[in-house]
Symmetry: C2
Subunit: 237 residues, 2 copies
């Protein structure tokens, strides 16, 4: 039923063959080397690599330079349900953690100032973190919070959750959140921070968190496109 005038590209045929092969093998199983696959399928290494690259992007395969290409382990898919990262993870029985890259106080400006309804130049706390599931990096997140938040690092350390720290230490309770989701491709920064390949498909999320009517959080996140789903529910009037 998929007959067309154009035959599917050679790399795509190979890709689906490799996908089937990966489905039968157990996670962690090594595939033949790229050179062996090319020779075995009467094709070039370039074509083999294109097929593998897409399967890596879909989370089917993994590859390590100097080691080989293997069937990806069955990683848990993190589902965002519009609460906080650590709450969502806990609800799904996943072990979440964070690596804090930096906490600083900066002047508000641009879109952040506008979203948080702050005067440009007013003090803003910036928290940059890597979010991990089962100790593997899943997302890069930069949160901007109005005002100075002394000892936020300690509060974060103690509670392990930004939302919990905000509430317990500063009396800020996020009651509503609005998320915007779109696609993006990994550049050098994401490659380095999340241990990905160039051009890997990502989901970029921007969140405006509200404490009642008051904007209280403007966060930009980037998640790996595999291993992540976003879920939302809405009532129609």
């Amino acid at each position: 039923m998929t007959s067309q005038s154009h035959p599917a590209p050679k790399y795509y045929v190979l890709k689906e063959q490799l996908r089937a092969l990966a489905a039968e093998a157990e996670p962690g199983a090594l595939l033949p080397t790229e050179r062996a696959l090319a020779a075995g399928h009467g094709t070039s290494r370039t074509t083999v690599r294109q097929a593998i690259a897409e399967l890596v992007a879909e989370g089917v395969l993994d590859r390590i330079q100097g080691h080989g290409t293997f069937v990806a382990h069955n990683r848990p898919t993190y589902v965002r349900q519009l609460t906080s990262f650590s709450e969502d993870a806990a609800a799904q029985g996943l072990r979440s953690s964070s690596r804090v890259l930096g906490i600083s106080t900066i002047p508000a400006e641009g879109e952040a100032a506008q979203r948080l309804r702050m005067e440009p130049g007013a003090a803003l706390t910036r928290v940059e973190r890597i979010r991990l599931i089962n100790d593997e990096p899943l997302a890069h997140e930069t949160a901007l919070l109005p005002g100075e938040l002394p000892d936020l690092a300690a509060a974060l350390e103690r509670t392990g959750s930004l939302y919990a720290a905000l509430q317990e230490s500063y009396g800020v309770r996020i009651t509503d959140a609005e998320d915007t989701v779109q696609t993006r491709l990994a550049g050098p920064d994401e490659v380095r921070l999340l241990n990905l390949e160039m051009g890997f498909p990502l989901l970029a999320i921007q969140r405006l968190g509200l404490a009642g009517e008051q904007p209280a959080e403007w966060t930009s996140s980037v998640f790996r496109g595999d291993r992540f789903r976003f879920q939302a529910r809405r009532h129609r009037d």
Copy 2:
């Protein structure tokens, strides 16, 4: 601040140069041919094509075989806010339309039967459509609805909206919807239906529509990753 031991790949440098070039030129402007770019930048056509491919995936460039590569026109970004396609489009001032690929009655089975809480084998109406914004294909959508819906084609034609047709002609009013969003890469089907390139990043959305407590709609959609954003709001307890 992006200094690393590894220099950025050559294709990536070229990609950002082309992005800057495209930002200055007006939409529709032709870029040099791939062969000319390769010669001009002292690189190979393969490298040029990799740079261009990612910019196409980001919606910055367009290319047509036999014609050339040019700066993409400023297309509107459709924002899904969890109501219906036509309602969302209208709210954003966009002209939406649909091309019906097929309407059929099939037996319920698998995940659809489970989601809609139907007996396997019970009658299901299947509506497959291409969704267009300003007459350009944006999404491919397959909706599954419980029961037989005689003359749905006519009702769809008349109202232009599945939700409106359901309500007006069959008394089914979708009051709640739950969407799940994840990434996907374009395969041959999406390439053909949405006029894309192989491997183009997509957003796949599955929606369960409820009429009160009753599951009334199970829809799988695939949107172009550029030109599309998903927006959701949630209240935390």
